[in-house]
């Protein structure tokens, strides 16, 4: 095979930050006091927090070493299914760091914040166009927060109709956070099995959809990477019984410029700016989860809303049907800047090309690896494809073993054991920013690992060997949790 990206290298040990502490060190220049001391009443003051005492280089070296133990998109291919780990453009970071944005106080008032308001307004309009909806809120702070927002909107809609409903339909190919989001609104989740082709069948929806059901939560393309071909018919069935259709837009990277979910009959959809719109995941956040709605649901959007009057912008809170506020201020503005910079850089054609190439990369991997790994649903996929370990089980090798061995080859593993509808799932989403050469290296690595599974299974079960630590005992860690030093 071609050269593996993963190799040996020197990394450094680094203790906990407090173990480096020495009495009397401080990594800031303490500001000079130009006003007199005003001691607080000793009854109100406490002991000083026992923070580490370090020099500036101590701090720099500590975090530089820690960072070197991490794998990021900038380190290598990160084919994590349903997470869209695409390249995060550096110019986006430059835009977000501008003093006029980064230094802006949220309560400076509309007149002093016109640039921020204009950016939010224009980003809302761009996302409305990309998704085919009437209105967008940028307030939700993450994808799951967007789901909650969407469910609150559905709840408020039914309340306004005068009769609340009790259930929500959630297919087995939906995202993992969906049931918890529905529960927060008091809805009981009703599980719906997808059909033999890996997509939903209208008859199955019709069978369980009733007037006690508030709606359905659909991920499209679903978590098998398949487009829900019957989406329009399903929407009609749900609407006919007075329900609403929630779209989980986490997989929007497959269909930008190809399909507008708002035109399919979906009523409300959330997006993940930290997936589709290239903002970095930051090791787990901050993200941003805008929600798009059709005209019927616009009155229920959270406040404040951004409105335009002639060429000035203002926040509006006077919306009597609004579900209310979801964030202390206006959401993750810093993330919005990056996503807007991305959209301005790409344009309509760039976004369409993005989806086309994301889908090309996934289909190329699917076809290249389907002789090596079992492919439970052998159909044209969208931006991700789902294999499993059925072929490796005879050698007592699991999806987890293959995932861990990939680390030694220098690749981040795919999403494993999700979606639940596939036993031992191995879910690959390459994204459009990976080149053919990098994808070929990945394919070669998976093939080499599959061969090792037959000839040298020990190499997989003891993997990984190259990272700083080997397999960690998560079960023991959870049994006796140690959550602080």
């Amino acid at each position: 095979m071609t050269q593996r990206p993963g190799t040996k290298g020197l990394i450094f040990n680094e203790p906990n930050v407090w173990d480096k502490s020495r009495e009397g060190r401080c990594a800031i220049s303490l500001p000079k006091a130009d006003v007199e001391r005003s001691p607080l009443d000793p009854a109100l003051t406490g002991d000083t927090p026992n923070l580490p005492q370090l020099s500036e280089l101590d701090v720099v070296r500590h975090y530089t070493r820690l960072s070197q133990w991490n794998f990021g998109v900038d380190s290598g291919m990160y084919p994590l299914g349903s997470c869209t780990m695409k390249y995060n453009p550096k110019t986006n970071e430059v835009q977000a760091a501008r003093q006029g944005f980064a230094g802006a106080h949220p309560l400076a008032g509309d007149e002093c914040s016109q640039g921020a308001l204009r950016l939010m307004y224009d980003l809302e309009r761009s996302l409305a166009e990309i998704t085919g909806f009437d209105a967008v809120t940028l307030q939700p702070a993450a994808g799951a927060h967007g789901e909650l927002t969407g469910m609150l909107i559905i709840h408020a809609y039914h309340a306004k109709q005068g009769r609340q409903r009790s259930k929500i339909i959630i297919p087995d190919t939906a995202h993992g956070t969906n049931p918890a989001s529905a529960t927060l609104c008091g809805y009981k989740s009703v599980n719906l099995k997808s059909g033999p082709k890996g997509i939903l069948e209208p008859e199955a929806v019709a069978e369980i959809m009733d007037e006690e059901t508030a709606g359905i939560m659909i991920t499209n393309p679903n978590t098998l990477g398949l487009f829900e071909e019957n989406i329009k018919e399903i929407c009609e069935i749900v609407h006919a019984k007075g329900g609403l259709v929630y779209g989980d837009g986490a997989n929007m990277n497959a269909i930008m410029g190809v399909v507008q979910p708002g035109k399919l009959g979906i009523d409300v959809l959330h997006l993940n700016l930290h997936k589709t719109f290239s903002t970095p995941h930051g090791g787990g956040g901050p993200g941003s989860g805008p929600v798009a709605v059709n005209e019927k649901l616009t009155p229920f959007l959270p406040v404040p809303r951004v409105e335009k009057e002639l060429d000035t912008f203002k926040f509006v809170t006077d919306c009597p049907d609004s579900i209310g506020r979801l964030h202390t201020f206006y959401g993750h503005f810093g993330v919005m800047i990056k996503a807007y910079a991305y959209i301005l850089t790409m344009g309509a054609q760039g976004l369409l090309d993005t989806s086309r190439l994301a889908v090309l990369n996934a289909n190329y991997i699917k076809e290249s690896l389907k002789g090596t790994l079992n492919l439970p649903y052998d159909r044209p996929c969208m931006h991700e494809c789902v294999f499993n370990d059925a072929k490796q089980q005879e050698y007592h090798i699991s999806t987890m073993d293959m995932a861990k061995r990939l680390l030694d080859y220098g690749f981040h593993p795919p999403t494993v054991y999700f979606p639940l509808v596939v036993d031992g799932a191995f879910m690959v989403e390459p994204t459009e920013t990976e080149s053919k050469e990098d994808i070929d290296q990945f394919i070669d690595a998976v093939k080499a690992i599959a061969k090792e599974a037959q000839t040298d299974p020990e190499k997989l079960t003891s993997a990984p060997v190259l990272p700083k630590v080997t397999r960690l005992d998560e079960v023991a860690a959870a049994r006796k949790p140690c959550l602080r030093g």
Binding site: A180, L184, P280
Partner: protein
Amino acid sequence: MRYLPHTQEDIQKMLAVAGAGSLDDLFKTIPDAVKVKDGLNLPEPMSEWELNDYMEKLASENIACKGYTCLIGAGSYDHYIPAIIPYLVSRSEFATAYTPYQPEVSQGTLQGIYEFQTMVTDLLGMDIATASHYDCGTALAECALIALRKNKKADKIAVSDLVHPSHREIIDTYLKPTGYEMVLIPHTKDGLTDMTALEAMDGIAGVAVQSPNFFGHIEDLAAVKKVADAKKILFITSFTEALAWGILKNPGSFGADLVAGEGQSLGIAKTFGGPGLGLLAGTSKLMRDLPGRLVGRAKDSNGDDGYVLTLSTREQHIRRERASSNICSNNGLNAMTAAMYLSTIGKIGIREIAQLNHDKAMYLKSALAGAGFEPVFDPPFFNEFVMKAPRDFNRKRIDLINRQCVFAGLDLAPYYPELTDHYLFCATEKVSKQQMDQLAKEVA
């Protein structure tokens, strides 16, 4: 397009393998009737230099572009951010990583967040801190839900009306579909939560009090604890200014069960209010009720130390509809930033910065008093306080913004209609004596 690496030759070769004649062919499972016909209606793509010009133009429409004197806080604070903080946190191994589900290649994030959890527990005097939340308001709403779930006999949560107004609105939003109710505890004429009113409340699952409160006053948390114990309800406390704990007695020392806080002060830029950093801490007893991620120590197969995400059986991706919360992404990179900031200022720096904030605020208050402002409330405060302004102040205030980029106080009337002409001021370590003297002269 510079982010898309495919050459025409690559595309042809890959299409052949994929068994498709063209890129459009890849979408044949999508019915033609639902496809976009004429392309999306978006602005023409910009080059990087066009983008720079356009974004700078937008940024310059915010007054913050000029570097201003910020004498407002109310949940977003103007503190100095040492140069090493943005420098270190922009290391792309941190910024471009996913949630550390594969611990072997995520030890940097994991150790960093473990250290963050440790420093936060120390700052707040609590047993456990989570790996972060979106902001204080959403963390506080989650705390209210925990109390309501724990105490099945009660369906109300008592919340001080001096909790940040936005946070109260968020609690309202979260509670609306659940059938639970938020009841407000009024405040006394001293600008403190009215304990007598709290004592008289029945059917409540927990009490939430912010300290320092929205007026900046330091609440008597010991008194809140006493009432909470007598009623056998959960004691929740929140804060918006994390640096206060560099000098004040922490919530844990008063026996708080749950603490929700805003960590933006810890090295994070204001950025028009987000992303900030939600802090959430609790007692060991509540470990399994806490929402969100937790990092714990673990051993690898060689017996070496490492870290993993742990207790994930509480979380939405495992427990699904029975999860304690639906939170998935949190504000991890900002948690890392806060850890870097706390390591940088250290034990010596945090006390000094906290004291300096208090000194400056005391000075500003007396300077404004000298300029004819009326100090309406008396309780001790950290770095925020309320003053009643002379009648013509609002005109001067707008003039100060336009002429000198000085933001002198936040008008409280939109939040508390009875407080016309009352302003909430904040002074941090960044404001100089000279700036404060100048302000006093301008508004006198």
